[in-house]
Symmetry: C2
Subunit: 232 residues, 2 copies
């Protein structure tokens, strides 16, 4: 990591000396957000420090404050970057299929970038969450859900997606590989079963061992869609 960032720094210096111009990757809000995503993906939420970020960008600690107000804005911008790619890609003709695709798209984005799940449920009025509201709202309109009911339906669906996002993200953070994840759930199920003799818990523990997060998430979307269309 240190080796690599020194190497990048040397390349920049060469370019600057040769052309005698501004370095080609001069700081910009865009470049900073891109670097933020890189640092978050590589080292997780705890790894995103201003020191780590500015080292990755080969610049001084204060430099980023010329382009973003603070770390919170940085996290919101990085999250919007990822979510923007998801909401841009849902062009299905059938509104119900479009909603499913949107929800699963967000699930998969969080699987790839767990920090997105944590960030989404932290601040309701950030751009990324606004994007999700807007997407869900327009599909519900196309589905024929009328005005006031649409607000309730949208709220239910968005809150479900964000809630699941945060929970699954925490799991993905804890166990990176599939094997780790399975072992972790196994231990947890055993703990539950040992801790509490209640048949509900015994049953839940055995379900936990063999459950598939993505399938369970999909089933939840179906339940809400059923609830929405049943009262249309």
């Amino acid at each position: 990591m240190d080796r690599r960032s020194n190497c990048v720094k040397m390349m920049d210096m060469t370019i600057r000396t040769a052309r005698n111009t501004r370095r080609s990757d001069a700081l910009s809000r865009e470049r900073i957000v891109e670097a933020t995503v890189e640092v978050l993906d590589a080292t997780g939420e705890a790894g995103l420090t201003v020191r780590a970020l500015t080292a990755h960008l080969s610049t001084g600690r204060g430099a980023i404050y010329h382009h973003v107000a603070n770390k919170e804005e940085l996290l919101a911008a990085a999250t919007d970057d990822i979510v923007g790619r998801v909401t841009a890609g849902t062009g299905d003709d059938d509104p119900e299929r479009a909603i499913r695709a949107l929800a699963l798209g967000i699930f998969d984005a969080i699987d790839a970038h767990p920090w997105v799940g944590t960030q989404l449920s932290r601040e309701p009025w950030q751009p990324a969450v606004f994007r999700i509201w807007k997407s869900v709202g327009s599909q519900l309109q196309r589905l024929g859900v009328p005005g006031p009911a649409r607000a309730d339906a949208g709220s239910a669906l968005v809150n479900y997606v964000l809630g699941a996002a945060a929970q699954y993200a925490a799991g993905a953070r804890r166990a990176t590989s599939d094997a780790d994840r399975k072992a972790y759930l196994e231990t947890l199920a055993a703990q539950w079963a040992q801790h509490d003799p209640d048949p509900i818990v015994q049953d839940a523990a055995s379900q936990l061992r063999e459950h598939d997060d993505r399938e369970q998430f999909r089933a939840g979307v179906d339940i809400f869609l059923t609830g929405i269309t049943a009262r249309r």
Copy 2:
């Protein structure tokens, strides 16, 4: 605050001198968790620092580490304290009404203690979340939802409740009074409406101005229950 904590310290000293015994409020995990709730309620999540907590307890910074492993455990224990009171109080005969009461109980607890909402969606395997899972699971069983479907239904409902919890908590954190909250939503709706001419957004902005968080949350629970019973 400083005045008050000095006063408490002096009282303790008097008691100790007079009786020549251990001070009456000797540290214990229970007392520490109680103090944590007090500090969180008074100053919010950002206000809970080990320094503030140990000052409130009139003790040294390191003292709490004899009773809890770290700050994360402290937050989980404080959250479990609040959620435990909610799950203990739902004894309705009708399982559907019991689910509604549980969900609204958690909503109200978060309204009173916004930090609970944030904490609940941060760590899926903490005691407080386990409590919620267990409560929901047993009511769904009484509702007649069979094994595998019950896991999907439980996951959907818990994720919805936790997602809504985090979103509303963030709102409650930002605006304490009802008037503040209304003014804030007003400003936000105006920003949306100005920022984006899309009719979906215009419509959502006007809904936002007059919407009631608690009613919307309740509507979401209804949508979910409809979805569950429609496929039973």
